[in-house]
């Protein structure tokens, strides 16, 4: 009996083959495929919100899909699925620079335009990189803020998501470069990962507070770690004594910033980032944004400067007690 089914399987496969000539997406609507570093990450969800707005304004279809587990190959698989699906342009936030470039290059040779956002791929694998701020800018902003909070001398610790996350590694490099250049009196005493989990960040921060009694500041560079570290500092009774800064979303940190446990949260407007990404993606797909352009007209954001192949949103923005209520994401 199952031999019959095996033959039926082959017949069905052949039948399916013929119908592949049909156009995959039908109609004239452009399709933008947006790839976050991982799904279920509040940061990328807020980027998506901005992206949705732009997609609606421009009248394009937006597909949003991302890996749900940390295996590095997953992003590649999603991109390859999209190549087969026949999307018009892919906008990717790259977890593994070299790894995903493999898949993105293939997309380009299949005629699909590629832009990256938030975290870049290799330059030959994409047309443009929509950067919220350069890694140097981010690293410097963090280090400068740390110095502003605790002065030119002292110990600080960094909590990151995982030791292998590429863009965090880059930020750390720039933090260290800025520290060595401008604040040699500040020492980074520890670097702990929190697996992108708030609870683990809280435990790690609590341990750091105990293990390094002279610690003056915790720098949390992955967004769940900022409220986690803040809670640990608060529970240890060291609010104000040990400063907390980091890269995080205003909504997750509002309470701590207002209480004075967290001094500053640095980020950029993620809604704008998503919005700009889709604007750039559509412009690239339509051919209105080509290499050599110096400016991109991006809907409600107005005219954005284009430097080479980088489209920079702006500088990192510092959310403090004074201004955090103006933002909702």
């Amino acid at each position: 009996m199952h031999r019959f089914l095996l033959i039926a399987l082959c017949a069905v496969s052949f039948a399916c083959q013929k119908s592949a000539d049909r156009d995959a997406l039908g109609g004239k609507k452009l399709t933008v495929a947006l790839l976050p570093k991982s799904k279920g990450n509040a940061y990328f969800i807020s980027c998506k919100k901005g992206a949705d707005t732009a997609a609606k304004e421009l009248g394009v279809d937006l597909i949003f899909d991302g890996p749900t587990d940390p295996d590095p190959a997953k992003q590649n698989e999603i991109v390859e699925n999209w190549i087969t699906l026949g999307v018009d342009v892919i906008a990717a936030a790259c977890e593994n620079k070299e790894g995903i470039s493999t898949a993105l290059r293939r997309a380009r040779s299949a005629g699909i335009k590629v832009v990256t956002y938030d975290a870049d791929a290799l330059p030959d694998a994409r047309d443009f990189f929509v950067n919220q701020a350069t890694p140097e800018g981010i690293g410097q902003a963090l280090m400068d803020e740390a110095a502003k909070q605790i002065g030119p001398e002292g110990e600080f610790a960094i909590i990151t998501a995982s030791l292998t996350a590429q863009n965090m590694i880059e930020w750390q490099r720039h933090i260290e470069a800025q520290r060595a250049a401008k604040y040699p009196g500040l020492k980074m005493v520890a670097l702990r990962p929190c697996d992108d989990k708030k609870d683990l960040a809280q435990s790690e921060a609590a341990n750091l507070l105990g293990a390094y009694p002279n610690l003056k500041l915790i720098m949390a560079i992955c967004s769940p770690a900022v409220p986690g570290a803040a809670e640990a500092v608060k529970q240890a009774g060291k609010a104000g004594q040990v400063k907390v800064i980091g890269l995080g979303l205003p909504n997750e940190n509002r309470a701590y910033v207002k209480e004075g446990v967290t001094q500053t949260v640095i980020l950029w407007n993620t809604l704008d980032l998503g919005y700009l990404t889709v604007q750039a993606a559509v412009a690239t797909a339509k051919g209105t944004l080509t290499s050599g352009a110096t400016v991109l007209t991006a809907g409600r954001l107005g005219e954005i400067k284009v430097e080479g192949d980088q489209i920079v949103l702006g500088k990192p923005f510092a959310f403090t007690r004074e201004n955090i209520d103006e933002f909702d994401f």
């Binding site: 592949a20 295996d71 390859e80």
Partner: protein
Amino acid sequence: MNSARSRWRAVLLRHESVLLALLLAEILFFNVAGARFGSLNNAFDIVRHSVEIGLLALVLTPIILTGGIDLSLGSLLGLCAILFGKMWRDGGMPIELAAGCTLGIGALAGALNAALIAGLRLPALIVTLGTYSLFRGLAEAITRGVDTFTNFPPVLLALGQERFAGLPAQGWAFALIAAVVWLLVHRTTSGRAWRAIGFAPEGARYAGLPVTRRIASAYVLAGTVAALAAIIYTARVGQAKADAGTGYELLAITAVVLGGTSIFGGIGTVHGTLLGVAAIAVLNNGLVHARQPREVAGMLTGALLLIALTLSAAARGLGSRRG
């Protein structure tokens, strides 16, 4: 004894036929739901994306047949991937030599599991839980978490990304390993021994089977093939990182059990495993074409596993082997 055997055979046949029918149904459904699903390109995508997990599922089959399990294969994939990169980049080895050494390391790691499980008779679940942590931990320690290996020579990348005689290159490697494992399990005395050990370990011992050696060989084989999967993975992605292969062992176990192999040991086929791998791969790929969120694929896979088990149990009726 004969009627019991034919009863088991009937059950097996039934399970695989159901799985095959399910696979057909998936293919038909997704062909309607997604326009480009049925294309040759997509078929190649499916093959390319499922080779590593498929390899792990293939070598898990003998292990599970013996009543054991191996949770460390995904971590071993990650460890072998970075050691492969390290030997080539920092050790200056030619890529072929690095690949050969990686296979050796995989075999050694498998031998560690084998020594503890077959030699010291420790429970496989816990030993491989320990090596699951240990291998991943070593990978993170060696790379200090941050180091990655890339810019591999084209001859390696071709293995993961190019086509060979019309099919994706790694597909041929997979087909070869599948054929070898199938022969081992279904046509050699090793395969019979694995089944017998799974059915009744003490009985197998009394029957004079070299139980320790057979169990050990299953784990060493698994380690070696995991190393091969690591090489293919690196070739496909073009990068070797410490967290490569995270979660692969659970997917592989799902495929094996879906394919009809009993987790208690003694019953199971390699073609069942292949069908299990195909069913899951097609499901994951098809849902993307049907524009469904990724989480749905996970939930459906879990639900599918439960349904498959329940149906099998219903077919089996009474007479479970363990409480």
